[in-house]
Symmetry: C2
């Protein structure tokens, strides 16, 4: 027989679908693609502005009718204010919402100062709140995860975690584990732990390990606890009479 | 052979894919579904508010930090004002943008009066600008199409046209044709014309036809022109030596 998709000959042992099911699958795929197009058009409608520039182009902020500014500030210095809208900030982050709805300093001055963050990271953060998109590398993903955790922007936190998980390896697993621990990033924590546990024999030779033992021994203890618990589970499975 | 999808036996004549292609198609489908989930989560992030009520629940408007109101008004009466945000209106509609960015009455008073529209239709229109969703029946689709045309909200106009096209039949084709003509709805116009041209022998017996001849004969002439042009094309195709 000839496959209607790849046009190669195949024997009955390698048979896939009958023609009816093949046609049906094709229709399903078409429907899914149409749904994707519709969803993309909706997203585009909700995020594109009618002016020539938009929040996603770094140079010229769109932001007409802005009613609040955000400032990235260190103790010495403050960045260029980034204009935004209270309604958008409040609808994306419960922390901004509480801050802006009550008579807090930020609400009265219409200025939100954010400490210990770079201008670029803050700008990317605000941009994400408007567009649900960000251009990530590892440092930016870490910066945005910290902000997402602090301002409870769950969608962004998941996005950053997913990105960092794709970059996990033995070289960075311990740092990612400690980082995930600090910022309550459960998926990244679990994924880092898997990588660490595959390399337990090499663990205490790493420089970051020694630093972590000094700085945050509790976190190291949790790694060992997870390891011992996993070993116990494995042993129990082996001894189980059902296997 | 047995189909791996429906589990039915089939002969080699009815063969669809080989197993490799079947597996690949399954993976593609999974990928498309994942993409759909991602897009839906993005949309949800961009349209859901953190407060308990949202724009899509009719009773309690969310709309904190609103900086403009819209009023549905007839010559005698004005409805309850509907709060909104200038930034959202301006980013979805070039007409609102121009109105709000310049020193027009609406911009100074922060009030946009919309004539000859019901409160419900206006509310659904504003809701669409925030969520890209609307619950349509035929009268609502017509009302929203009129607003979408007036305020140049292309995404909504397409949405209403698609809905009205699914409801087209010989009973409503002529009314839809005239309506589409009046509000520059090209897809609806073309689709209505197809239905009308299938029923040309019955056309001049309809009550709406007579009314249209009185009210807007130009539109009726265009139907006849399209019909004659189609007949000429069909005849030319028949005479073509290549067929």
């Amino acid at each position: 027989m000839k496959c209607v998709s790849c046009k190669e000959e195949y024997t009955s042992e390698d048979a896939g679908t009958c023609r009816d099911c093949y046609d049906e699958a094709g229709e399903t795929e078409e429907e899914l693609k149409r749904e994707i197009d519709d969803l993309k058009a909706k997203l585009n409608f909700l995020t594109t502005t009618t002016s020539s520039s938009s929040y996603s182009t770094a140079s010229s902020p769109w932001l007409c009718f802005s009613d609040v500014v955000l400032v990235a500030s260190t103790y010495e210095d403050a960045s260029t204010p980034i204009p935004a809208h209270r309604a958008v900030l409040a609808s994306r982050s419960p922390v901004f919402k509480a801050m802006l709805e009550n008579d807090m300093e930020e609400s009265l001055s219409r200025t939100i100062k954010i400490i210990d963050v770079s201008y670029d990271a803050l700008r990317a953060f605000i941009c994400y709140l408007y567009t649900a998109e960000a251009c990530l590398d590892e440092p930016m993903a870490c910066d945005l995860l910290v902000l997402a955790d602090k301002y409870q922007v769950k969608h962004l936190k998941t996005y950053c975690e997913k990105f960092l998980i794709t970059k996990l390896n033995w070289e960075n697993a311990l740092l990612n584990y400690a980082f995930a621990h600090q910022h309550n990033a459960k998926s990244l924590l679990d994924a880092s732990l898997v990588v660490i546990m595959e390399n337990m024999d090499k663990l205490n030779k790493r420089e970051e390990y020694k630093q972590l033992v000094d700085k945050d021994p509790q976190v190291v203890v949790e790694i060992y606890e997870a390891y011992v618990s996993k070993q116990a589970n494995t042993a129990a499975l082996k001894d189980s009479p059902n296997l």
